[in-house]
């Protein structure tokens, strides 16, 4: 690895993204920083077929339920189709970095456990369409991610996640969501990690900057991310979520040592080399 990447600056980079194109660029850069750089990924053929079936230019394949639960009158946001077609899409490159199921075209059927968006919610933009279009699901469908049908015509609508409190905003845009998801999932698989049952004594004093992303909500967890040189720290505010209470992930073993020393983590802490081989 060449230069040190200071993720304490991540919030600044994120704030500097002036559109979804800039967020795709940041996603590609982030993937490279963690050692993956796919460049010729292609969506599966069923994606193209589904897209054209949705447009009505071909019939759905016989016996296929790809359009069940889909409102063909709703457009698909540009950002979602762009994500599917990113040649550097790390989900297409290696889905097991993610452990999610994509849903395309976005469907309504999987939304039942969170119900519709409450009437009068500002997310509805004043419409009475309370439906949510689900575009991705956690591996065992415990959480799903979607966007309000009321925003389907937007190029890059807000991304919602199901929690015990119903639909919660996960990211302000779909492109921001896909970037966010990569930041949440990839470093702990591709980096050197240290995990603890609680935040170490030096964590509060170190005052690491947040990444500028909302807490990641999944499987009961509520994970805030913090940046350090060549490293990202994941802290779960809940007890009993699926995440470790505290994980540091670093691009290099040296960066992890520097960080653990700074945070007062004992050398005996559980330190692991990357669990994933690219």
């Amino acid at each position: 690895m060449a230069e040190v990447v200071d993720y304490g600056m991540f919030a600044t980079w994120l704030a500097g993204c002036d559109g979804r194109g800039a967020r795709w660029t940041l996603l590609r850069r982030f993937q490279r920083e963690w050692g993956i750089d796919p460049d010729d990924e292609m969506p599966p053929l069923w994606y193209d077929t589904a897209r054209r079936a949705l447009a009505g230019t071909v019939p759905p394949p016989d016996g296929d339920d790809m359009l069940d639960g889909v409102d063909p009158a709703l457009p698909v946001p540009r950002a979602l189709d762009e994500w599917w077609r990113l040649p550097y899409n790390s989900f297409l490159y290696q889905p097991r970095l993610y452990w999610v199921h994509p849903v395309y075209p976005p469907k309504f059927e999987a939304t039942s456990h969170a119900g519709p968006i409450p009437a009068d919610d500002p997310l509805l933009h004043g419409t009475d369409d309370r439906r949510v279009c689900v575009f991705m699901a956690e591996y065992q469908y415990c959480n799903v991610w979607g966007y309000p049908a009321a925003q389907a015509a937007h190029a890059d609508p807000v991304a919602l996640v199901t929690t015990d409190d119903g639909w919660t905003v996960q990211a302000d845009t779909l492109s921001g969501f896909f970037l966010h998801q990569a930041v949440y999932r990839i470093p702990r698989l591709l980096g050197f990690t240290a995990t603890l049952d609680e935040a170490p004594p030096g964590f509060a004093d170190a005052d690491l900057p947040e990444l500028g992303l909302r807490p990641w909500r999944q499987l009961g967890s509520n994970v805030t991310m913090y940046g350090a040189p060549d490293a990202i720290v994941y802290v779960d505010a809940t007890a009993g979520g699926s995440d470790q209470a505290f994980t540091a992930a670093a691009r290099t073993e040296e960066a992890l040592k520097n960080l653990t020393a700074r945070l007062g983590i004992e050398a005996s802490a559980s330190v692991s080399p990357p669990t994933w081989r690219t």
Binding site: A2, G19, R20, G21, A22, W24, T25, R28, R29, R32, D39, D40, E41, M42, P43, L45, D48, T49, R52, A53, T57, V58, P59, P61, R78, E82, R85, L86, P87
Partner: protein, 273 residues
């Protein structure tokens, strides 16, 4: 569908394009003819933001040909909207080929006496090491000729980068959008019938690609025929009827299977080797 398009006259349309703008317009027409309606895309916006990128292999002194930047910045074009239809990946900024075996010979006519023998690549083929590029010595040209990495050095694939882009679209787009006939192994009878049918070529040089060298492309009303000599023949049609008419023209007794795009769950024929 806007009337019948006779690809037997494609060569004239291509020849009438006297500049890059003409070829970009032809590309857009061809996309529309095959039902491709590209939307503005931000997938490749990273090419405008390369300040922090790893620029290894890039010679910052070499200009990027205007044609390449124009193509990638067309307001809406199929490569930037649906790159997967092209089975290729963008190399940007273009990279100087490191392997000196790929250098041009000093007496290669393409160099016209220039002394920089290096090749520069801008596009790679999916699933192989093949790449397309241009001589570094010609990087200052707005629209340099395109060379395939697997050809003997200096063998030209396209007379200009913008014509290469049109050619690439002709090779790739109809397969995913039109109806098709596919003959995995041609026969002497089919070859003779194809020769006898007198279909005009599209005015493009033979297409060179790993495993499918020297593919010749022929035109007919609403249909295009691709011949990989001695092996595969495939044809695409904007309608089923166009392919029925084409088959009858080649051989009145020929009744090949015609598939719609969504019935073909396989890769583009040129990627099966």
């Amino acid at each position: 569908m806007d009337g019948v398009v006779d690809y037997g006259r494609f060569a004239q349309r291509l020849a009438a394009c006297t500049d890059r703008a003409g070829r970009w317009a032809l590309l857009a027409q061809f996309e529309r003819e095959w039902g491709v309606t590209p939307q503005p895309s931000e997938i490749f916006s990273w090419i405008d933001d390369l300040v922090d990128e790893d620029l290894e292999g890039v010679d910052a002194h070499l200009p990027v040909p205007a044609a390449l930047d124009e193509w990638l910045r067309l307001p809406a074009t199929s490569y930037t909207d649906e790159p997967h239809l092209y089975w290729s990946y963008l190399i940007y900024p273009p990279r100087v080929e490191e392997d000196e075996d790929d250098d041009l010979e000093p007496d290669d006519p393409i160099l016209a006496g220039a002394t920089d023998l290096r090749m520069v690549r801008f596009l790679g083929r999916a699933f192989s090491d093949s790449r397309w590029g241009y001589p570094a010595a010609l990087a200052g040209q707005a629209d340099p000729p395109v060379v395939h990495s697997d050809l003997s050095p200096g063998s030209v694939q396209s007379r200009s980068l913008s014509e290469f882009v049109v050619h690439l679209a002709v090779m790739r787009l109809p397969w995913r959008h039109g109806f098709a006939i596919e003959v995995p192994q041609t026969t002497p009878e089919l070859d003779a019938a194809l020769d006898g049918a007198g279909l005009p070529q599209l005015g493009l040089p033979p297409w060179e690609e790993d495993g499918y060298w020297s593919v010749e492309v022929y035109g007919a009303p609403d249909a295009i025929v691709y011949r990989y000599p001695g092996e595969v023949v495939w044809a695409v049609g904007r309608t089923r009827q166009a392919l029925r008419d084409l088959a009858a023209r080649i051989d009145p007794g020929w009744k090949p299977e015609i598939t719609a795009a969504h019935e073909r769950d396989e890769r583009h024929p040129s990627l099966r080797h």
